[in-house]
Symmetry: C2
Subunit: 277 residues, 2 copies
Amino acid sequence: MIYAIVNQKGGTGKTTTAVNLGAAWAEMGARVLVLDLDPQAHATLHLSVTVQEDTPTIYTALHNDVMGRRLPDPLAPAGAARGEEAVALAACIRRAGKDALDVVPASLDLAQADLELNMVFDRERRLARLLAPVAAEYDAVLLDCPPYLGLLTVTALAAAQRVIVPLSADFLSMQGLRALVRTVLQVSSDLNYRLALEGVLLTRVERTAMARAVEADVRKALDGSGVGRAFQTTIPKNVDIAEAAANRSSVLVYSPRSQGAEAYRALAQEIGRPRRG
Amino acid sequence: MIYAIVNQKGGTGKTTTAVNLGAAWAEMGARVLVLDLDPQAHATLHLSVTVQEDTPTIYTALHNDVMGRRLPDPLAPAGAARGEEAVALAACIRRAGKDALDVVPASLDLAQADLELNMVFDRERRLARLLAPVAAEYDAVLLDCPPYLGLLTVTALAAAQRVIVPLSADFLSMQGLRALVRTVLQVSSDLNYRLALEGVLLTRVERTAMARAVEADVRKALDGSGVGRAFQTTIPKNVDIAEAAANRSSVLVYSPRSQGAEAYRALAQEIGRPRRG
Ligand SMILES: Nc1ncnc2c1ncn2[C@@H]1O[C@H](COP(=O)(O)OP(=O)(O)OP(=O)(O)O)[C@@H](O)[C@H]1O
Ligand SMILES: Nc1ncnc2c1ncn2[C@@H]1O[C@H](COP(=O)(O)OP(=O)(O)OP(=O)(O)O)[C@@H](O)[C@H]1O
Ligand SMILES: [Mg+2]
Ligand SMILES: [Mg+2]
């Protein structure tokens, strides 16, 4: 099952959720791949994967797919230059440094992918095509998206079967939910009929009137909408979660008994162990 | 003085800083304009400006500038269609709902500006040209940027004289600082020689070992770098700041004696009252 972790609002816990939900499923024995689609490469960093000049990343695979797309010119003189060699996504897979899951790393040059993808036919499905041979070997693939609804995020929605929306429990973060749900429905009607909302995850929840009001509003908006639900599990604000990032591991490895680790385990249980396909 | 509020990391307090620093300067008697360059339009919302279908926004001005750019065809038959009428930025200026400052609002369709700007010559300077006739009437113009280093952010850096980088005091937010400083230096050498870093502002600071470590690392990295400083003033994590957004006003108006309001006043003092030009 492929999950896109999406929210155009910045800092709502997308990377934190991709890493820690992935790790909680791995702890349950599932085979998990985290694919970093953000040029900031924070999931890559969070999972202790280092990228050198020549390390193949998601950008290498997308770039070579786009550039290699141009078919050779049948009328060219013999020996003329061909497109770049395609790089299979499988060649980009690395093992996380401290967690029992696999990672497709990102790098800063991924920022160019939006413009490059614009140049090819069927641009929205390029990622889905690259993922197809690989996804079948994992119980769960988690796509960590950047904080904007550009082409990279659209390719993630076109490739995924489920969407998880981390939403930090504050007023501004709540605003973008309607636009995001509309985008998901639009992708599901035009590009990927299998796409459905798995759920909205309230993150960084504190015991304040604000957080309670946001939670109540989000649950009211979703219940009865027919679009999906807000998970029963919420993720509390927990310093171990933030420190785990500095430790470059999931919070389950960094501080296994912490509230943060327990909350992500509860989320993994609530969604259920992912099944291949 | 034109300030770009920039950080590609999401959720670090860009909108919060544009609104509250602007309000603190307005309280000192300065004439302040907040220009919302984020398709999420959170500064617009935070300052109680409502946008209807026909309300001119920053997208209207940019779009009509880009589309109107095409010179009439001197060889076309008489009466042929011309480009769209240019909309002056001054026509987009609104008064904030509860604060004593002016706002150029944004809307969701601003997300198309990146692609449209790509189509014209001198694309990086389109915003600077639109701003020129308006900026002279304000002591400070604050450009609230989206959480990515796309063309919209580049046009803000090309138009500004100073950059303010809000950085929340956590490990992941610290990572992008080097790439951001490099981008600012690149813009200043290629597009806008006046551009300089005003400072890095540590936001959402809590009394944790993590926050202290991040603050120490950031100050060490900047001091002696010759690039700029981290402000002495830091913004504490303060629930009034988050609630002010729900109240659609600055925290200075919502809760004038709060720690959040005092911190932004201290920042305004530290930078000093802005001067026109
Ligand atoms: N429940 C939590 N408790 C404490 N800190 C948290 C929690 N969730 C996330 N954080 C911290 O908040 C910051 C923002 O989270 P994160 O980077 O995962 O958000 P994001 O949505 O991926 O951001 P971006 O939009 O930049 O991609 C990080 O430093 C992270 O460690
Ligand atoms: N010092 C603070 N104390 C408490 N809450 C804060 C503080 N600063 C910002 N916030 C809250 O944190 C959230 C993120 O802040 P904000 O939206 O200003 O960040 P941003 O960098 O503009 O995000 P984006 O990257 O999505 O544009 C908001 O809900 C805001 O109200
Ligand atoms: Mg992220
Ligand atoms: Mg913002």
